[in-house]
């Protein structure tokens, strides 16, 4: 008759091995399984947690719950508004850069430059000429 090994007992303790006919029949293995059951129970004693600590933790949870309930709606609105702003700016900026106004300005600039090249007087003097016109 082959007895259960340490490995068998460990697997059995953690639910990875079923009780078999050997365990049912063998007094020695049965006694060992009982001893292990008691040993396990002994080591599982949960530590005491200080009551003050638990009370402080509960206060912390209540504070967070109150805070979340009170501030959740305005925060949600603020977040939505911020996201909308980001979207608007994101959509507007590229359009501003590629706007036809820039092209018109460039064309205007080129034509002004061409006109300046053809006149001997600088363009800034033109208002002075107008002062002496009748």
């Amino acid at each position: 008759m082959k007895h259960w090994t340490e490995n068998d007992f460990q697997k059995w303790l953690y639910g990875l091995k079923e009780e078999d006919s050997h365990l049912a029949a063998c007094g020695e293995c049965r006694a060992e399984s009982e001893r292990l059951r008691v040993a396990r129970r002994r080591t599982l004693a949960a530590p005491e947690v200080s009551e003050e600590f638990l009370a402080a933790q509960r206060r912390g949870i209540y504070n967070r719950l109150n805070h979340a309930t009170r501030n959740f709606a305005p925060l949600r609105w603020a977040l939505s508004a911020a996201m909308l702003l980001v979207l608007v700016v994101g959509f507007t900026l590229p359009h501003l850069k590629q706007s036809p106004v820039t092209l018109t300005n460039d064309e205007q600039l080129y034509s002004d430059l061409a006109a300046m090249e053809q006149t001997s007087e600088p363009k800034a003097i033109q208002p002075l000429h107008k002062l002496f016109e009748k």
Partner: protein, 198 residues
């Protein structure tokens, strides 16, 4: 006008009643959830924050209009706690500057209850091995740690663990088997070192 005020009063009374009910449930589950978080995170400060996160998430989830009745609130809460701890463990990998709390702070919060053992020597020995086993949990992967903690400390069935972690039972068995393999030395000392003494 009066109707609106009555509705508001009724809503606030409902809110008060549900807060009181939630508070009572929280008090009954708080220690278990805190110890589970402590075992998974191995840090009392982080376990405190994770426990608070767990109950805040539970409250928010219960207060959603689409929330359903729970079949097993304890398992549902355990699932939230385990997922909160797993998230923290994953993000912890990047927090190498993290400070651990002083051991004396830990002793002030946690005291090992004298177990029902035959003598004081056995109790001290069991407590020592228990501590060693808990420290050895860092050898396990995150999933293995969650499975082992739920099985060893909470004595949950494999099917229950599978439900909590959203895994199938076969996968839970594989994780548990590997965890036991990695903790072989500690488990040997826990269960077999004093063989023949009793």
């Amino acid at each position: 006008m009066m109707g609106a005020m009555a509705d508001r009063l009724e809503a606030s009374l409902d809110h008060e009643a549900s807060t009181r009910e939630f508070g009572a449930w929280m008090t009954s589950e708080q220690k278990r959830i805190f110890l589970l978080c402590k075992r998974m995170l191995q840090d009392i400060g982080e376990a405190d924050s994770a426990t608070q996160d767990t109950f805040v998430k539970a409250w928010q989830s219960l207060n959603r209009p689409e929330s359903k009745d729970l079949d097993n609130p304890a398992s549902w809460l355990t699932r939230i706690a385990v997922n909160t701890c797993l998230d923290r463990l994953r993000s912890r990998r990047w927090q190498f500057w993290r400070k651990r709390p002083a051991p004396e702070d830990e002793q002030n919060i946690l005291r090992v209850t004298p177990a029902a053992g035959p003598n004081a020597e056995d109790q001290i020995f069991a407590a020592e091995i228990g501590d060693r086993l808990q420290l050895a949990l860092v050898k396990l992967s995150l999933r293995q740690r969650a499975v082992f903690a739920l099985r060893h400390y909470e004595d949950r069935s494999l099917a229950d663990i599978a439900g909590i972690l959203d895994l199938d039972v076969g996968t839970v068995k594989v994780h548990l088997f590997r965890a036991i393999e990695k903790l072989r030395e500690e488990l040997h000392d826990l269960y077999f070192r004093d063989r023949g003494k009793q």
